[in-house]
Symmetry: D2
Subunit: 284 residues, 4 copies
């Protein structure tokens, strides 16, 4: 692991001098930029950038970087986030009965691929509690029924607060979050087992089989109040043929789901994803 | 080019002895099988097969193969087609203003990749007539307006009959064929510029851009009365990123459209595609 | 799981009537074929086929199928194997220090994707013993040094015999098997972390980085006396860019290694792979 | 086409303030940056960047931009190139007997995908002269024999000078350029019909078939004195199976060659490729 870095994610109306102003701010304070990328959406008139620099040798103390940058950002009408690489985010993984994404995320975290802690697993079923115990992660079983949903979501939110969770990953969690929940806790990544917008909603593999597609996909996206309509972070696909029945699609899809979700989570944890409108810019 | 072959495409209710009966029929008449593939759809209870054998040394004269096989096929309630590799199908390519698929198909046919003749190009615009002339292919300009459509489709059908066309390829033909047309001439392959069923209908690249997908696709399918709902022959995809605007999607998509359409046409011309329900079996 | 099936894998000099003879043998004994595929290599003059049929309702008792088929196979000079789907092969996984392929294979086996038992893990290091214990699999630590290699391979062979192992999977086992070992136990699948024949041998990711390739790959192959030269079962690739250093190549490669090895093992366990010369036919 | 832009490609030893200095230079002169990307190779201690800005409203006249930037670049020990989007490069396409890449490049240029002129085609055979005439491009037939090679390369160089060629594209030109030629004219892109470094040299498809690979590839690279060893710009792959003989590999490969070469040429013409050592940075 190299020395800690700071990352600025900035979006603002496009105008002259943005790169110069931001880069000069870092240079003037002695920072060594190790990654800088930008994108201009000319249709939206929007400039977006990600700049990462080493904190070693940077003259501003951490607590002053934000206020100092804000003086630059305000006249630009910029939205911005400041993140430090040694602040390790805390993840809650939510699952139902399928374990493949859960195992995958835990093993990647242990292998050092994901810069995060995983202190909490929540499930609407009991089956996967054994995996949680195997890896010493707290497991909370919160079953959901139509009439208990609001109350159970309150419990879930309470757990997220209690465990100081920064990010929820729906790793094949087969319940829909209410828009109230999303309003309270908007940092949620979901894996959908289709190539969105194809086969949004329930039973995508069955429907893909019935439509006779030759390729299936998976999509990782931020969750919004509109089911399966949130900003897409990553997608991938795999070929299928007439020899593949629904069971084969599900099996092949599991490999896709694992990889697409893991890539999206990693990109998010590296602060490489900016959302604007219903789109993402991924500074990979 | 090897010596001519015969190909049987057969589908029938699944039952014991199908492979043995069909293979024995060919062997008993001295045929050398060079390709045999089969598929059983257990859900549909359907058996489908493709068998190709060399005509050299086959004891039945061509005109008797069909009647002889029919005696086997009838008790099996089989649908079947018999095709000879030296019967060269005749293709009509239909276009509007975009030339990339047209050029691609013509050049592949000249390069020997497509076992077909291309005597006819039909367009609702005049622009691509120059390409037709360049390659000595007859070009008919048949503009379509709402109130002339029925009459113009009658002209189109007359041309197909006159030119003895076996297959129509919609190579970016931006008009919808009426269900009456399809009823009269059902052998039509279309290229749709999206990963169906995502973005069926108009302006798929614009809509893909707006949805913020990370992958775009193209789909070649047989045309049915339901727009963009016909049996899919082939699909492929390419990655896009936030840097790609709609123009880039269109440019990247053109490569996909060319390749996906060409593959589908080649598979069809090699008699490798069987349709049942709204699905295809592709014996590639 | 459907009722048990028998599978014949046959290769013989190409000649007329092969499909008919084999299919008729099964039909005559009341078998219902559920998969039949064939391939003719015209250059090699070789016919290869895979036929699978349901044992339920088949009139020959299991122990007579082989002898009965042999009467057909001998005049055809055919090599053949007969396999029953309810005979579950026993796998030994060999590893060194990396755990990603080991975890992946164990989890897939538990999920029912691999029709096999895994009673034995062998390693030249001790680290992965904890994983073996976690899943209740016997673990044997057999360190290899230059002067102990012959003796240690004898121990390994003894373990394979004792555990009645059918297949060895080198799941990132960083030692080379001697040709003597292969002569005694030829059923070995290896995962090589490059797109063979590029970067055969040591340190493929380092060398891929130095060459500046834009795509990296992984290759699963049967092990022969020639290092990294055995028949290839499966390969896949992933894009890399100038932003990926060697560490990134290794991380991205791990996903490839997992998937390519798992696919190859599954194909092998389903008896879908025929080897001839240094090539495989994969009846997928 | 938007208004003209200037692009700076810069590489220099890594040090603090590079982004700030370059961006400030453009901002100070009133430039509006529309693309900025950078990469640091920490192993090589090298910083590389591409910055593109609109010339409209830029206060420095064109002829002064270079000298002004040089004052910044010299103390940084930077290598740099300055390019204007309305300076249209002139391409010579070199071919032998295969026409698919030639057709592809010409059609893309006519479709506006390649910002270049194609005034010259050179071939060591006569066959493709007809295509040159069809598109009104000058064609020079320069046959190569062992003892005439040096003299013929002199003629080729004279033609490149005469036609003021900026870039040579070897679009399936089946001759090796001498290192003397490369020394005189180093801007050459070649398409090699394999996934380099696999199957460098002659007959890659035949050798890929013999090795039994499951995937084939194509590689576009800058030509250096070492055959097939130059910096790679782009690669792509396609799946093959045991059903594909060498002829099929060649046919499938042609699609790869077209697309990989076209992508590489487009990236080069957009000044998105920086070479250092034997590697490329592609600011796509």
């Amino acid at each position: 692991m190299p020395s800690p870095t700071a990352t600025l994610l900035v979006s603002c109306p496009d105008q002259r001098g943005l790169v110069a102003k931001i880069a000069s701010f870092i240079y003037a304070n002695g920072g060594n930029i190790i990654h800088a990328d930008q994108h201009t959406d000319f249709t939206a008139g929007l400039f977006l950038t990600r700049i990462e620099w080493q904190l070693e040798g940077f003259n501003l103390p951490r607590e002053l970087i934000g206020p100092a940058f804000n003086a630059i950002a305000q006249p630009l009408q910029a939205n911005w986030q400041l993140l430090f690489s040694d602040t390790v985010p805390r993840i809650a993984i939510w699952v139902s009965r399928q374990d493949h994404c859960l195992f995958d995320l835990i093993l990647r975290q242990k292998a050092g691929e994901l810069n995060a802690e995983i202190p909490l697993i929540i499930s609407n079923h009991e089956e996967l509690g054994a995996i949680a115990r195997q890896f010493n992660i707290d497991f909370h079983h919160i079953p959901i029924a139509k009439d208990t949903k609001a109350a159970q979501e309150a419990k879930q939110l309470e757990l997220l607060r209690q465990y100081q969770i920064d990010l929820v990953i729906l790793a094949k969690y087969m319940q829909i979050l209410s828009s109230e929940f999303i309003a309270h806790f908007p940092q949620v990544i979901n894996i959908h087992h289709s190539f969105l917008p194809a086969f949004a909603g329930a039973n995508p593999y069955q429907r893909a089989y019935e439509r006779g597609v030759k390729i299936i996909g998976a999509t990782a996206h931020y969750v919004t109040a509109d089911l399966d309509e949130g900003p897409i972070i990553e997608q991938d696909v795999v070929r299928v043929s007439h020899r593949d029945d629904v069971t084969d699609l599900i099996r092949k899809g599991k490999d896709l789901e694992r990889i697409v979700l893991a890539r999206a989570v990693r990109l998010h944890l590296q602060n490489r994803v900016l959302v604007y409108g219903n789109r993402t810019v991924v500074f990979a």
